[in-house]
């Protein structure tokens, strides 16, 4: 019996020793995305986009001859889970790079872990604090919330709005956005007369919008990414609030507009041109990339409309792929390739990275959009 056990153990060890030989032909890329949970409208399209792209690339031979092994982890937008998955991916799986997380709170939780583990992190989240202060290995592909705030305030000035109420969720994204809003409002002549923070899983916000209405605000600005975005709109219209409602760039998934139904008409928000790809002029440099991604995604996902969030995952993976094609599989070389990449045409805009700018996007990445007849449309000037 003992002999048999020793032989079995030897066989198992032999197998274990043999596997790394197969792994030499693949490159491990990790992904931490909020596929379920309050941010699922961000993480689910991101996950589907990555799977779609990895399948495509592997069918064509992978990146520079090596197939991609995508290791996806669902963090359910919990920073705690993101931390444990990050440690697992960096220390156990020794992934080449990590794409994600989907939300700002999770990204901030793992920023130091990625930096210390010298693993490239391409976050799909928006908060400015992710790249300010700059950490050598941490990049983000979503446009800065400060740009979104500036665009919204410019629009408000055009509409002669000066008194607003601000609602934000208690997530990393909501808090970062609120901070930017409060910092930049005086510069644009906007006065915040009421400000409320709600829980990310909130299901009713009637009391909060009632408070705003009674403070006689001219417009409501909501900064969050949860389904609560749609609930705010519904509740506000139900209590008879007639002023314009502004959302953050976290509104970029048509499901939010669908969830709010007729209440979503006229909502104004900044977003990437991906959402209105079809109506872009032919000479727009992004149009080709956007249309191709849109077609591929909608084909793969049975007609589900693409969102800006899936676009972030596309940008992250394609930036990584281009850097690897240029510099091979040395981590430090790839990192500096990304850091110095210029003119990359992505879904969120045209990226120009630099050692001091690990985001690469400027205000031109955004376009002001609105909801018309249940669809996203450009806000006519």
């Amino acid at each position: 019996m003992k002999k048999l056990a020793i032989m079995v153990l030897a066989a198992v060890l032999a197998f274990a020793a043999a596997s790394p030989c197969r792994a030499a032909d693949t490159i491990k890329i990790g992904a931490i995305l909020a596929v379920t949970g309050p941010a699922s409208n961000l993480g689910a399209p991101e996950a589907r986009t990555l799977e779609m792209l990895v399948d495509d690339m592997n069918a064509k031979g992978g990146i520079s001859g090596k197939k991609i092994q995508l290791i996806m982890k669902d963090s359910a937008s919990s920073p705690e889970k993101a931390v444990s998955f990050a440690k697992q991916l960096i220390e156990e799986e020794k992934v080449f790079a990590i794409i994600g997380p989907s939300t700002s709170g999770e990204t901030m939780a793992i920023k130091n872990i990625a930096e210390e583990g010298k693993t490239i992190l391409l976050s799909c989240a928006a908060a400015e604090v992710i790249v300010n202060p700059v950490a050598a290995h941490v990049f983000k592909v979503a446009p800065k919330d400060s740009f979104a705030v500036d665009m919204i305030f410019e629009q408000m000035k055009k509409m002669k709005i000066s008194k607003i109420g601000v609602l934000s969720s208690n997530t990393g994204f909501g808090k970062a956005g609120k901070e930017q809003v409060e910092k930049r409002a005086p510069g644009h002549g906007i006065q915040i007369v009421a400000s409320e923070v709600y829980d990310k899983a909130a299901t009713d916000l009637t009391a909060e919008v009632t408070k705003m209405k009674s403070a006689n605000v001219q417009a409501i600005l909501n900064w969050s990414i949860e389904p609560a975005q749609a609930i705010v709109i519904k509740n506000a219209r139900q209590i008879g609030f007639k002023g314009p409602i502004f959302q953050s760039h976290g509104f970029g998934n048509i499901k939010y507009a669908e969830a709010a139904g007729p209440a979503a008409e006229g909502v104004i928000f900044p977003a990437s041109r991906l959402l209105i790809a079809d109506s872009l002029p032919k000479n727009n440099p992004q149009k080709a990339v956007l249309i191709k991604y849109k077609k591929d995604y909608e084909l793969k996902c049975h007609g589900e409309e693409c969102s800006t969030f899936g676009g972030h995952a596309y940008d992250a993976l394609m930036i990584l792929a281009r850097a690897i094609k240029e510099k091979g599989f040395d981590r430090a070389a790839v990192r500096s390739a990304i850091e110095n990449m210029k003119g990359f045409v992505g879904t969120a805009g045209i990226f120009n990275f630099s050692p001091s700018d690990h985001n690469g996007l400027d205000m031109k990445a955004f376009e002001m959009l609105t909801v018309r007849h249940g669809k996203f449309a450009p806000l006519s000037k």
Binding site: S40, E196, Y198, A207, S214, P227, Q238, I239, A259, A260
Partner: protein, 296 residues
């Protein structure tokens, strides 16, 4: 705070209070019949809402809701027959762990069937923007549906428990199971019936509230916690008190916005739960003596 704002807050509080009360009544029915706290109660609410949304894809709305209630009722009965019935005088701790485990399983199954997205039924009357102006207070017509249907439900439940034979049999089992058995009442069936009834009530609650809030595969757990709070607040087992306690909790939560940031809404309900458990565990309306005498 002006009068209009006060009424708006009260209406918001009553809407939520009604839903919490419905969940609490579900807790109470099962507790009365078996002594079990069924932590999967919130999942019944979620299942009702999700099933109704799926059915409304090809059935008219009233039929979809009826179908959802019946299907959830069957699931409730099945849960009891498969997991609870064959246990011989289980301890309270064992039952709690079993029901918590069941709620997790149901939640994951729901995730696989319906995915992670949020669903909502269409508004019963009007749309997401219609609002009725009652004395300066704007409310969605759905709120009236919620309050109306819940009141009708509570009314029929009290008729059921007081004037029908089956209802009285369930009350007999709750009072003293052995004596009820001696009278020829099938206690085992009463337990199954109590699960089915709780599931049906939860499912109906889920359907009527889903247009204004959403149902998602994990929206059952927070509701179960709030419903449990309300059940304890009113005195475990006392359904009429549950309605009053539901209103109290709903209105307290709603007014808490005035003094605390809105993110602390849940803190308010948990604090109340903790306070009641420390100070007066038999609930505001419960009788400490009677609670100690109950045995299973």
């Amino acid at each position: 705070m002006n009068l209009e704002l006060l009424f708006q807050y009260i209406v918001a509080g009553i809407t939520y209070g009604t839903i919490y009360a419905v969940v609490a009544i579900g807790f109470n029915i099962i507790y009365n019949a078996t002594g079990i706290i069924n932590f999967a109660q919130g999942e019944f609410v979620m299942l009702g809402g999700m099933t109704a949304v799926t059915l409304s894809g090809f059935l008219p709305l009233p039929a979809a809701i009826l179908g959802a209630v019946i299907i959830t009722m069957m699931i409730g009965g099945l849960v009891e027959i498969v997991f609870i019935r064959w246990l011989k005088s289980p301890s309270v701790l064992r039952m709690i762990i079993i029901t918590i485990g069941l709620s997790i399983v149901i939640r994951e199954v729901a995730l696989h069937i319906w995915g992670e997205g949020v669903r909502a039924l269409p508004y019963f009357s009007g749309t997401s923007v219609s609002s009725i102006n009652l004395w300066g207070v704007f409310i969605s017509p759905q709120v009236l549906w919620v309050i109306g249907i819940s009141s009708v439900m509570v009314f029929f439940l009290s008729l059921f428990f007081n004037y029908t034979l089956t209802g009285r049999q369930m009350r007999a089992c709750a009072a003293n199971r052995d004596a009820a058995r001696l009278c020829g009442i099938n206690a085992g069936n009463m337990v199954t019936l109590s699960f089915m009834l709780s599931a049906a009530i939860g499912a109906l609650g889920g359907c009527i509230v889903s247009p204004i809030t959403y149902v998602q595969y994990d929206s059952g757990t927070p509701l179960a916690i709030k419903g449990f709070t309300v059940a304890i607040l009113g005195g475990l087992g006392n359904s009429t008190a549950a309605v009053a306690a539901g209103m109290i909790l709903g209105i307290l939560e709603s007014f808490s916005i005035w003094v605390l940031p809105a993110a602390y809404k849940d803190v308010v309900s948990i604090t109340i739960l903790l306070a009641i458990l420390f100070i007066r565990p038999s609930g505001i309306f419960g009788d400490a003596e009677a609670a100690r005498l109950k045995e299973y």
